[in-house]
């Protein structure tokens, strides 16, 4: 037997729900005659043409064919509703029949139950029925019959195009650095640390001599893939500097562009909290050198987008800007070599550069940025 089922194009896929005059339902149930008059409460209402079936399962396909022929339906609106008890009892035969039969496997197959109340039990039954491979849905009363009807129509269309669909979930995506970039990073960071070790030692001693506290300043930053890590710098401020920040908000260079929804980055001209040594290592960008350790640890790369303090990072988790997190985090990057230090560099321009790097970053681009970084390190302005 053959049943012509309606075909739907992919363009129409949004319009699954549609009106129907009568939906034929074949009800599989043990209780004979099963109360088709589901009036208390009205689980199945008008609009359903319910056909009771409890015969031999081998005859089911013939019954379906006959039904559809008798109804002279142009498009076959027909689905199977099966009582949970019946399904449990005849599970093996039902799976055998519905997974192999040329026509039956395209019909929506919905299991219903009127007695279950325990949410945990419902959840377990959901899983069990899903795993059977033939059950398309499971309804526990009470439910709206209009919901069931729309779902049946959806499933009917879905099952027809199902064989053509290729639904591959994007799972386990993570940013992975190209091997070449990582190798370069390790070689570069190691040789820099070795060559610069006398200088690093001098700076460390100078910091210790001027003010109390540790040599390195650690802060939490969000890097590539929004991975949060300890970001190292030479300490350039007194130890309680973070707490003073709230009192200095009015001096913030980025605070003026308040009309647009741009993120509020903090950058203060001639910050009074900076120590003398701090001022020198900042002007020469030497305070950034400990990030070579971050590079060795794999938190960062030499070239990439600036890892952001968390209060800045949370403001960039929106569609337009999320891309910046999908590139490596780096000591230097497009932003630093483009026009670092210019007072008119807006937060928006900065993020645009980040996105730009995320799109076109490659090895030679990185080398170019490293070469451009050296002159940029001598900053004219105190940033």
């Amino acid at each position: 037997m053959n049943i012509t089922l309606p075909k739907f194009s992919f363009q129409e896929r949004r319009h699954y729900s549609r009106a129907t005059n009568s939906y034929t339902v074949i009800l599989l149930s043990n209780e004979a005659p099963y109360p088709v008059d589901f009036n208390q409460p009205p689980y199945l209402m008008e609009g359903f043409n319910i056909q009771y079936f409890n015969g031999c399962l081998h005859n089911l396909s013939n019954t379906v064919a006959l039904l559809l022929a008798n109804n002279r339906q142009q498009s076959a609106d027909c689905g199977i509703i099966c009582h949970l008890d019946y399904f449990t009892q005849h599970q093996t035969e039902l799976i055998e029949l519905f997974s192999n039969h040329a026509t039956l496997k395209y019909l929506p197959f919905v299991v219903v139950d009127w007695s279950m109340t325990n949410p945990q039990q419902i959840k377990q039954t959901n899983l069990r029925l899903k795993q059977s491979g033939i059950v398309d849905d499971f309804y526990v009363a009470p439910f709206k019959s209009t919901d069931l009807l729309q779902r049946l129509l959806y499933l009917q269309n879905f099952k027809l195009i199902k064989p053509e669909l290729d639904i591959t979930p994007e799972a386990g995506y993570r940013y992975t650095m190209p091997v070449g970039k990582r190798v370069f990073d390790i070689l570069f960071a190691l040789s820099m640390l070795i060559v610069l070790s006398p200088l690093l030692l001098l700076i460390a001693i100078a910091i210790k001599l001027e003010s109390k506290g540790p040599v390195l300043y650690k802060s939490k930053r969000a890097g590539s893939g929004y991975k949060i890590f300890d970001f190292y710098k030479f300490r350039s401020m007194a130890t309680n500097a973070d707490r003073q920040l709230t009192q200095l908000q009015h001096l913030n260079q980025y605070a003026t562009e308040s009309n647009q929804p741009a993120p509020s980055f903090v950058k203060i001209n001639n910050d009074p909290r900076i120590t003398t040594v701090g001022k020198f290592i900042r002007n020469t960008s030497l305070d950034e050198l400990p990030q070579l350790i971050n590079v060795l640890k794999g938190d960062m790369s030499v070239v990439g987008n600036r890892p952001l303090p968390l209060y800045e990072a949370v403001q960039l988790t929106r569609d337009e800007w999320a891309m910046r997190f999908l590139a490596p985090a780096g000591i230097t990057g497009l932003w630093q070599v483009s026009k670092r230090g210019k007072a008119d560099m807006s937060a928006l321009e900065r993020i645009q550069l980040d996105n730009e790097y995320a799109q076109k970053g490659n090895f030679w681009f990185d080398i170019k940025i490293i070469l451009q970084t050296l002159p940029a390190m001598r900053q004219k302005e105190t940033v």
């Binding site: 639904i167 988790t317 999320a322």
Partner: protein, 122 residues
């Protein structure tokens, strides 16, 4: 302990990848570009513990998706969290009227996102 499964429906490529990065430490993640693919993935035999969806998407948007979910028996009780940049109160209200569970505004704090997901899968 079994890892919980989260279904992500988000049309923006970058945000979808970022969510993947953020959540895979805590969840089994399945991410899709629109409501149609998300719905199809479910009907291919999957039953996630929580759904995270964008509202404004081309073709099969968050509202279409939510309608289909709530009409279904399998999925009507799965918590659905909207992650959207929308400011329009009518859209947010409509989301909750249709059976949405929670709303998170973009830009979002990843820590809040994770704690919200944890709360709804506990």
């Amino acid at each position: 302990m079994d890892r919980k499964q989260v279904l992500i429906v988000e049309d923006d490529n970058s945000t979808r990848k970022l969510l993947n990065c953020l959540l895979q430490k805590h969840y089994n993640v399945s991410a899709h570009k629109d409501g149609f693919d998300g719905m199809a993935w479910l009907d291919f035999g999957n039953l996630p513990d929580v759904i995270l969806m964008d509202i404004n998407m081309p073709q099969f948007d968050g509202f279409d998706f939510l309608t289909n979910l709530r009409q279904s028996g399998f999925y009507r009780n799965i918590p659905v969290i909207a992650l959207s940049g929308t400011d329009r109160l009518t859209e947010i209200n409509r989301f909750f009227d249709m059976g949405g569970t929670d709303f998170i505004k973009k830009p979002f704090d990843p820590e809040i996102l994770i704690s919200t997901l944890n709360r709804h899968t506990a």
